[in-house]
């Protein structure tokens, strides 16, 4: 259940949000592909004040052998927040939250990567959050998708992570830190923009069916926008220009 502190005002009197955005407006997004020369593929995504770097290694032989699948590759995701990524220092290392996000991210990526092409193999995806301001799992997924494309891993589509939520009984797109902490609901999803499929969905808090539909409408709109930025980043890296 979200915080839902009733006395925290998250919308201005004119209906805009505390940072001046409209309810269906996203924070600014910029993406750079191929930022780490040692990785097979990499990307850095800046989404508002979030900064995520993703690196992809492989496909390689899956170790230990017990994790091998005879008919497909496994995707091994490690999501980690850097100790300096938030205002309060985070204790380094894996914790319950990072384990959960690693798992849901791996499952989302497995649904788009053509894993059947690489039996007994492993594709390693490292996601490092350098700066956090709400919505880091979505930013991590977007960064991982660009890094996978940069590594030449075959995929059905490039998955986009995006979130909507509810503050003061109003559905809004792309929650910032205050809205995430004091809002009423959060709906992060992984969208395949070309097919309109949903590869992962989580919901924290309560949304009515109508609010859910509106939140998904915002998410699909934002996913299209972010997908364009992802494609531009890859074209800028390899084609020397915009799409």
């Amino acid at each position: 259940m979200m915080g839902g502190y009733g006395d925290v005002q998250l919308l201005n009197d004119d209906g805009s949000r505390l940072d001046g955005r409209k309810v269906d407006e996203m924070r600014p997004v910029s993406i750079e592909a191929g930022v780490l020369p040692a990785a097979d593929g990499s990307a850095m995504v800046t989404h508002g004040l979030n900064v995520a770097v993703a690196a992809v290694y492989g496909p390689m032989e899956a170790h230990p052998r017990k994790i091998q699948r005879q008919d497909r590759a496994v995707i091994d995701v490690r999501y980690n927040m850097a100790p300096f990524s938030t205002s309060d220092r985070i204790r380094p290392g894996f914790n319950r939250r990072s384990r959960e996000i690693s798992k849901v991210t791996a499952e989302a990526l497995e649904s788009v990567v053509l894993v059947e092409r690489y039996p007994r193999s492993k594709i390693r995806v490292e996601i490092e959050i350098l700066a956090a301001e709400a919505g880091t799992r979505c930013v991590g997924i977007t960064a991982a998708a660009v890094a996978l494309a940069d590594a030449g891993i075959p995929m059905r589509d490039m998955i986009v992570g995006v979130a909507s939520g509810k503050i003061e009984d109003t559905v809004v797109l792309d929650l910032d830190k205050a809205e995430d902490n004091y809002g009423q609901a959060d709906l992060p999803v992984g969208i395949l923009p070309n097919t309109g499929e949903i590869a992962f969905l989580q919901m924290d808090g309560d949304l009515s069916p109508d609010e859910f539909d509106l939140a998904m409408e915002y998410n699909f709109k934002a996913a299209k926008e972010i997908h364009g930025i992802m494609v531009d980043a890859l074209k800028r890296k390899y084609d020397g220009g915009e799409a």
Partner: protein, 229 residues
């Protein structure tokens, strides 16, 4: 706009991008068919040849195929076989029965040890990606001299050119023996200046290969060499 690859349609595609209707054409590598339309699955240059639409990937991993010539590095030695690093997801296995020498059981290390470099051919790849190598064949041997340079797997055909024309031109320019394995490793043997010249040409391909043809790189290198002389 970059040059991409000579002769290829100058269109960069990303995974999930719809390319067009699939009617009357075949899907090649890097393409899947969904609801009668072609969808790209890899980042790369779109290419249409012989009625087949495919993607020349910008980055790709080496997937061994039977008959491939590879430059392998011995990674492990057992009593009767060697495990080779062939720059793929899995190590290649070279049994002593497919080595060019008569090897006694337990004496494999006397012929090749960890770190040795060999020119081998892929004998067999099964559906689980087990790779068996052979060194029985013309020219297959242990490489005792020279240098090994890594090149991206997707650039191997570009280094060779049509009928090995570019490879031969590079050999002539640096006066070295050069073998390019399908697994993205080139073996270069000759004078130290020649090896250095060939390595810098290949390194330039690694850095600029996605936007520049290897022929252009060779032209620039040759002009620079003439200028220095």
């Amino acid at each position: 706009m970059s040059q991409g690859q000579a002769g290829a349609e100058q269109r960069l595609v990303t995974p999930g991008m719809a390319i067009g209707p699939s009617t009357g054409k075949r899907a090649g590598s890097g393409i899947i068919v969904a609801e009668e339309s072609f969808i790209a699955t890899q980042l790369g240059w779109l290419r249409e040849r012989n009625n087949t639409v495919s993607v020349d990937p910008i980055n790709a991993a080496y997937m061994p195929r039977s008959g491939d010539l590879v430059v392998g590095i011995v990674a492990e030695v057992r009593n009767n076989l060697w495990f080779m690093n062939i720059n793929g997801s899995f190590q290649g296995l070279l049994p002593m029965s497919l080595a060019p020498w008569k090897v006694e059981f337990g004496a494999a290390r006397q012929h090749m040890d960890v770190g040795d470099v060999v020119l081998a051919r892929v004998q067999e790849v099964d559906e689980c990606h087990n790779v068996v190598l052979t060194m029985k064949g013309v020219g297959l041997r242990r490489l005792n001299q020279g240098a090994v340079e890594s090149i991206p797997v997707q650039h191997v055909d570009r280094v060779r050119g049509e009928n090995n024309a570019l490879l031969q031109r590079m050999r002539d320019a640096c006066d070295c023996r050069i073998m390019v394995g399908e697994n993205g490793r080139a073996w270069i043997e000759g004078s130290s200046e020649g090896i250095s010249w060939a390595r810098s040409a290949l390194q330039q391909l690694v850095q600029e290969g996605h936007s520049k043809g290897f022929e252009t790189i060779l032209n620039e290198m040759e002009n620079k060499t003439k200028g220095d002389a």
